[in-house]
Symmetry: D2
Subunit: 380 residues, 4 copies
């Protein structure tokens, strides 16, 4: 089987997580094509050199254009802040590369649209890294829904709660500035639960939402004579209600101010014959309620999703030996590699990325208009 | 201490719960005035006779007007379906009685307004039975908030999820008909979480909401030649976003279709220095997160609220011996009796009842208008 | 249906709990004979008078012999400290009364034996108040086991953990003195889990155990010139291993020093085809694991035992409205009254009381001998 | 920094886990010496070749003696079944290698003794792979205890429950035969909780225990004309009580028949001022109860042990991004490499391995004698 050359742009949090996935995938998914960790790119030569050494890349580049130009690279992995996605992705597709892009796809819907068109024009594989689709417990949820185990879906509710900004003295960063991050809690973590809803329930047809910023000014990491604080120009909280095309209702909330909640990405789905609940902080577990159980023992099953018959997780360790957060990225990369080998883009594709972006865009418009808004479908 | 004569209207679920509270209060709260269970009223003479015998009432009446007229009765307790609240309450106040009214106060805001005015005119004690204010764990939450333990409140989220209507074959009842129930999940259980928000966070200034009815027709309990099914004319699901006057954000959801959730009345409050979470299905517990804990051991405390130093609960049993749902009503009655003795209406008063009603009314208007709506303040 | 006259000996913790049960039983179990709360007895006339008034007894006595002699009393309820059980019970049976006795039956096996013989000689109803048999979730566990749902039982483990003595400055009391209490954690709370094992698994055939006293001296409540502290002469911790007659294994632990555990009476049963777990601090829930579930969704069901089809609990409130600790006593009294009406002693009977006592006795002997010991069967 | 050559013996479950650790350690603990994955050894040439390729070893050997003889190897990692530990370890030490040995150290105490002496004679680094010492939550528990946060330890209880043998039709394997495995649940998983007790509480001075085998015959994987089933010659369940040297009490249970429990390695420690609880199935969490909390909010803290200030875990991902089971091995290898660099054996050393073995030996003797038994100290 041909080895696939990978070039990664970005070496911080997501760069570290993706590097890990490339390094790990073969040992646990030997049936997938094997990646070659060809090069990592970043503008700071010292930092990117160190990252290459630490994370196991053969070489490094300081210009993503050079990376894209390399013939030993088949896949470009874009793990940069959101405002840089568009240019790198467009150029990578133009060069005929396969592309994995971090979420959210872009900072504006217009950019996302252009990126989808670039992907279609290239005809290569394009994926967006909604890695929480790849949690085995979530994959099990999807399987149970598809098998009709909980009947017709009526309600979906999801919260993604973090607290790393709850202290008003937490410093400014690019994630708090609209020009770099696009939005705050909405695009960063609201994107994840929106995509989750799309996968598990189906398309969202309308939303009404509210963005809020409780802490509007934060200390600069590098204060100047002129300024000790900078303006926070993105939301730190967002809530939205949704209608799905199939008639289900949705309630969404994302916050970076939820004191005590570190990474609570949680959803519950109520169907006409059962329900399913999940929480990322305990990601090896799925809660499942089934009307089909006999009446005496009906109750949410606490399913420890670590058995050989559960999705993907059997490739790791025996039952009861839990996996962690990073494994979702390994699964994502496994799907990417398999997709490249087969020549078709696995889910979540750039189409999924656009669909999510369109909902985030509608939420922002709704927060401004005070009205229900409709996601803009992808123009032809 | 003078014994207080009580007359109860209604003998079904709430009638049983209130009867229990009057029967129990003296044994556990001997410092409160002792109630005398004078009479219970209901239209079905056979049923009300049986209820009097079973629940411990000295006598019964089949006409609430006769009950109100009795001189041995100080307090009228209105535990009927919502469409009957208005008339009974107005007449009871007119007769100079103290009144405890089940929630929601009324089926329309106009009725609620009239009832508040009647209360003010009477000058007697008026309470509304938002019994979940009287859960010791909830009272502890209130105390911690008031003491500044979690800082400034930024977000509130609450869900009240039941599933007794999730089966499309669950039969029609008065609770599913707008003329009797006013609304569905909104007024029945959404009222509880709205009042909880008012108590814990403060006044709600605006809402946007959506009502939904997934099962629009249900089998009649007594089918006729003409009809086997009746139309459901109230919501079975509602979601709403809120802004509080103090700037906090709110997310609310109530459902009677949440398969597997029997009585999940749950809330979480995020403050700038801590968080609090509660779930009625495990009502003896409060979860509390405090920034003031040292960093190594920060995490939600699972507080078993059964100690002598916790609110009210020490009057029951030693630490670790949990109380149940009905005890909240005993606490409510204890406050009612104490209020009557002292001559002032304890919280939640008819004012609180109106405030809640005004939010429910705004949610209904918002669901129709698709816009943010403002609760109507009580006219002078 | 004839009303049954009750006389209660004891007015402290257990007296309050039993009083509550007699006051409540008719309102929720109207099909059982109705008790008449005739008289409560205690040596302190002021305290017993107050107790009668507060808890709803028609009269009081200061001599239990007078109570036993009263002709308007059918049932004697013995809720005193353990060293007083023997005499009151023997005399009550001699007078032809039905008897409910608090656990443990007695402070010595010889006393217990005499009490069983007195019961048999009287031919009246005799029950011992192992109230945790009457938790609906526990009754459901029993039903599932009897129906073969978890197969053949292989292992049982139980812990009863409290912490009210973990502070070395908690004062002396009769519960810490061997002459009054018989033993410490063993008889007080170890008795409960031993009886639970007997009910759920079957007879225990041998034990090896260890008693321990970590805090051997405690401050007197009323210090004298001679002494500020008294000697603790009972265990504050006990652990024992057991073999059951059916081959199952057992692990038991009881402690009053388990800092942070208020009333954690918890057990787990592993069968060849499933498992069951329970915790008294969350007594409305039963956890059930069934091999018969299909493999994808196997996991412990969190069964909220509040449905109408669950044992007894449907007589209280609708599904999801939880009951508390005191309700177990109401169920016990309901069974007592029904037993008296039918003329046969319901479980747990005095035989069950003896069987438990014999195991506690064997554990004490084992702790002294360092060997496995066998419970002494009831002599003919 | 010098790279350390590693040779691994064994390529099954533990071989895979250790391989992963060597492959991962540098990316997350760049300050530790870097391992070089020189060679993996196993008797089946096809299997070991495949393992080398999949897990990332540079070469393979089919004779562990050749592995030990290689000069490019500094560390021998023994991940074989227990009956093979002794010979490989003795020879590795004789060759001057550093050794990591899987638990339990040996199948008999005599072997363990010889291995410790070999280690001492070699003067190289010797570690035993009690990897659960390296769970960050467990390390935090140790830190809290050492800092006196829970006061004086009074009780320890631990269970290690699995269910992979609960089906009587689960097939025979080397783990069920005394000549290969030494013992069953006792040595395989009881060893882990015994070592945990040693680390957290201190030395065990005496035990009384019971071994049990519920399923005594199992189907052969390769039935012959003569036999379809083989005899199970080890325990599938064990319970033991312990006294610690410091006066604390202990209750231990290990089972492979605990239907529904996949890998429940759980302990609780009660101190005079607080308590700590842990469960491996939710290994990122530690429960901590502190008397020092103010009375209103006392309760077990649910500490999500993923913060930068928690032990080791900050090297992985931001707070709230959980790690899995395999990470404990990475931590173990990190300590091994650091120990080799510094020239001293980190805990758990071969001494710790012996101490554990001596307790297991005493439990086996106690099960036979029915008496309390004392662990044999290491002879000089």
């Amino acid at each position: 089987m041909k080895t696939l050359g990978v070039g990664l742009v970005g070496y911080k949090f997501m760069g570290k997580a993706h590097s890990n996935a490339y390094r790990q995938v073969h040992a646990f998914f030997p049936d997938a094509p094997r990646p070659r960790m060809v090069a990592i790119a970043g503008r700071d030569v010292q930092a990117v050199t160190a990252a290459a050494e630490q994370f196991g890349w053969e070489s490094h580049e300081t210009d993503y254009r050079v990376l894209i130009a390399r013939e030993d690279i088949d896949i470009i992995d874009v793990s940069t802040p959101g405002h840089l996605h568009h240019d790198v992705v467009i150029e990578a597709f133009a060069a005929g590369k396969h592309v994995l892009c971090e979420k959210p796809l872009a900072n504006t819907l217009a950019q996302a649209e252009a990126m989808v068109h670039a992907w279609r024009a290239a005809g290569t594989v394009g994926m967006i890294n909604f890695n929480y689709r790849k949690v085995p417990a979530v994959m099990l949820a999807k399987q149970l829904i598809d098998d009709g185990r909980i009947g017709e879906i009526r309600s979906f509710r999801a919260r993604y709660l973090q607290d790393w900004l709850h202290d008003a003295n937490a410093p400014m960063s690019w994630r708090l500035q609209k020009e770099f991050a696009g939005s705050g809690a909405l695009g960063d973590i609201g994107a994840h639960i929106t995509d989750m809803a799309h996968m598990l329930v189906g398309p969202i047809s309308a939303v009404t939402g509210m963005l809020s910023t409780a802490v509007t000014s934060r200390p600069l990491e590098h204060p100047t004579d002129d300024a000790t604080h900078g303006d926070v120009t993105v939301d730190d909280w967002v809530g939205y209600l949704a209608r799905f095309e199939n008639g289900a209702t949705g309630v969404f909330e994302a916050s970076r101010l939820a004191t005590g909640r570190k990474n609570q990405n949680t959803f519950e789905i109520n169907g006409s014959r059962g329900s399913i609940a999940f929480d990322l902080e305990n990601l090896n577990q799925l809660e499942v309620y089934l009307d089909d159980d006999d009446a005496l023992v009906r109750g949410f099953h606490q399913v420890l999703v670590t058995d050989g018959n559960h999705p993907l997780v059997g490739n790791w360790w025996p039952a009861g030996h839990i996996i962690g957060w990073e494994h979702t990225h390994v699964h994502q990369i496994r799907d990417l590699l398999t997709g490249v080998a087969s020549g078709s883009s696995p889910a979540p594709s750039f189409d999924d990325g656009y669909r999510c972006q369109a909902v985030l865009d509608a939420v922002e418009r709704s927060s401004a208009s005070g009205q229900w808004e409709t996601p803009v479908p992808l123009p032809d």
